[in-house]
């Protein structure tokens, strides 16, 4: 963990990361980005631009060939790194929820704390209940994912990701698979998290969310970061032509 000039903590440092699939397709092209503690960074861009790959590199779900990512002082692909320990500090929420269908909401949330966090079942369940209250669905604790609506599933998934008390939360298009009327209930939880000081990296096209809480917005295309800027400057004064085109297409 390094402290910058203004006393800020650089929680995620990404330096010159490149990623190829099958040695031919370059999914990420020399990506560099620094994310400070407590920041919410929104990543947007057309599909296939490498946003999800970028996110998955941060918690080591994807193996990149060049560059370095340091999370909380630990190099993700460093030789001595305990990747499982590092991942426990990084919560992740997926587009298609990926709740475990054979477990209740409660079991989904408590699996990692019991198996990885070595908490007792009771401690884990108390914590899970707190989180379910926080995401607004304590009454769904004993239901199976198939009995929940999309919005409820995603809120359980957020609670599951929070259960290990992570330092960072990654969101991979968390509202893209939701019916329109359920998007808000998920965004509200995420806004609440951001305001609570959680460090977040969010891949999303919800520009309303970006305007509201993002400290920085990153625009990606063809595996490269095309433009990044603060909340205000990105929307009001995009510099790059492709950014402008993209924004005009999604901000109807």
């Amino acid at each position: 963990m390094k402290r910058g000039d203004k006393g800020v903590v650089r929680l995620i440092e990404i330096r010159g990361v490149s990623l190829w699939y099958c040695k031919e397709f370059k999914a990420l092209d020399n990506i560099s980005e620094t994310i400070e503690k407590g920041q919410a960074v929104v990543i947007c861009g057309p599909s296939g631009s490498g946003k999800s790959s970028f996110l998955r590199c941060i918690n080591g779900l994807e193996h990149f060939q060049e560059g370095e990512i340091v999370v909380d002082g630990v190099s993700v692909q460093g030789p001595g790194t305990d990747i499982h320990k590092l991942r426990a500090d990084i919560g992740m929420v997926f587009q298609h929820f990926e709740l475990y269908p054979h477990m209740t909401a409660m079991q989904n949330i408590t699996l990692a704390p019991i198996r990885v966090g070595k908490k007792t079942k009771r401690q884990a369940e108390e914590k899970a209940m707190e989180l379910l209250v926080r995401v607004g669905i304590p009454e769904q604790a004993l239901k199976y994912p198939e009995e929940l609506s999309g919005g409820q599933k995603q809120r359980v998934a957020i609670a599951r990701a929070m259960a290990m008390e992570p330092k960072i939360m990654l969101f991979d298009e968390p509202t893209s698979a939701l019916d329109p009327e359920m998007i808000k209930e998920v965004l509200d939880v995420m806004i609440d998290l951001a305001r609570g000081g959680m460090t977040m990296v969010v891949v999303t096209h919800e520009m309303g969310f970006a305007r509201e809480v993002a400290n920085e917005i990153v625009f990606m295309d063809e595996g490269k970061i095309i433009e990044k800027g603060s909340n205000r400057s990105f929307f009001d004064n995009p510099k790059n032509e492709r950014t402008r085109q993209f924004l005009s297409r999604i901000l109807i």
Binding site: L61, H84, R87, A88, H96, P101, L111, A112, A161
Partner: protein, 217 residues
């Protein structure tokens, strides 16, 4: 028709049925265990793990079971240096052979669980073993229950092949009874009926399980 021949020899014949059941059950348990290991080896990205397992599976799936039963019966004493009983020899042959079939069922079951489930488990900090044990296998096994039941029924039918090495399983004992009583029609109809009823129960159970699975997912 002289049905008395059946009741007179029922104890002898059903004793053989018990042996058939025993052979089938040990085969399913052992074959599934070896099959799970082979399935993971087949899904490995390491060539040294992947190729031997793949070779094994293709090799045994390309042979008739009866040949493997013969092989093991005649080879086992050569390898171990002492005679192995017919039952032990049959168990080894069945497990070795059926493991190849179970491996493919298990592999398909594991692959039926989406990659996102693995990513979700990994992102929570779970190891490969924990992910497999708590997230992947429970779902995979549930998906493959119908195929496993079908394979179990096939194995039960195939236990009759063990007669070639002198194992006195059910069909062999019916055969012996016929040699003594000369009542082929009654005895073989009886044998057929029993096989049919037992295997139908298996198939029915499989269908019901499949329906229940469809309802719940």
């Amino acid at each position: 028709m002289d049905l008395g021949v059946i009741s007179r020899n029922a104890a002898f014949m059903l004793g053989g049925l018990a042996l058939s059941f025993k052979l089938a059950l040990i085969t399913v348990a052992g074959g599934l265990l070896v099959g799970i290991i082979l399935a993971f080896a087949r899904l490995s990205s390491r060539p040294l793990v992947y190729y031997p397992a793949t070779l094994y599976v293709h090799f045994f799936r390309g042979l008739p079971l009866i040949l493997v039963i013969f092989w093991l019966y005649f080879l086992a004493p050569v390898i171990t240096g002492r005679s192995v009983g017919a039952f032990a020899s049959a168990v080894i042959a069945f497990v070795v052979y059926e493991a190849a079939y179970f491996a493919e069922i298990v592999r398909a079951g594991i692959q039926s669980v989406s990659r996102g489930q693995t990513m979700a488990a990994y992102s929570g900090g779970l190891t490969f073993y924990e992910t497999t044990r708590y997230v992947i296998l429970p779902q995979a096994l549930r998906n493959m229950v119908p195929a496993l039941v079908t394979q179990t029924v096939v194995i039960f039918q195939d236990t009759s092949l063990a007669y070639v090495i002198g194992l006195r399983e059910f069909l062999r004992r019916v055969n012996l009874t016929d040699a003594r009583e000369a009542r082929s029609v009654e005895l073989y109809l009886f044998a057929g009926l029993l096989y049919f009823v037992i295997c139908s129960m298996g198939s029915l159970a499989s269908q019901r399980l499949e329906k229940r699975r469809q309802r719940s997912c």
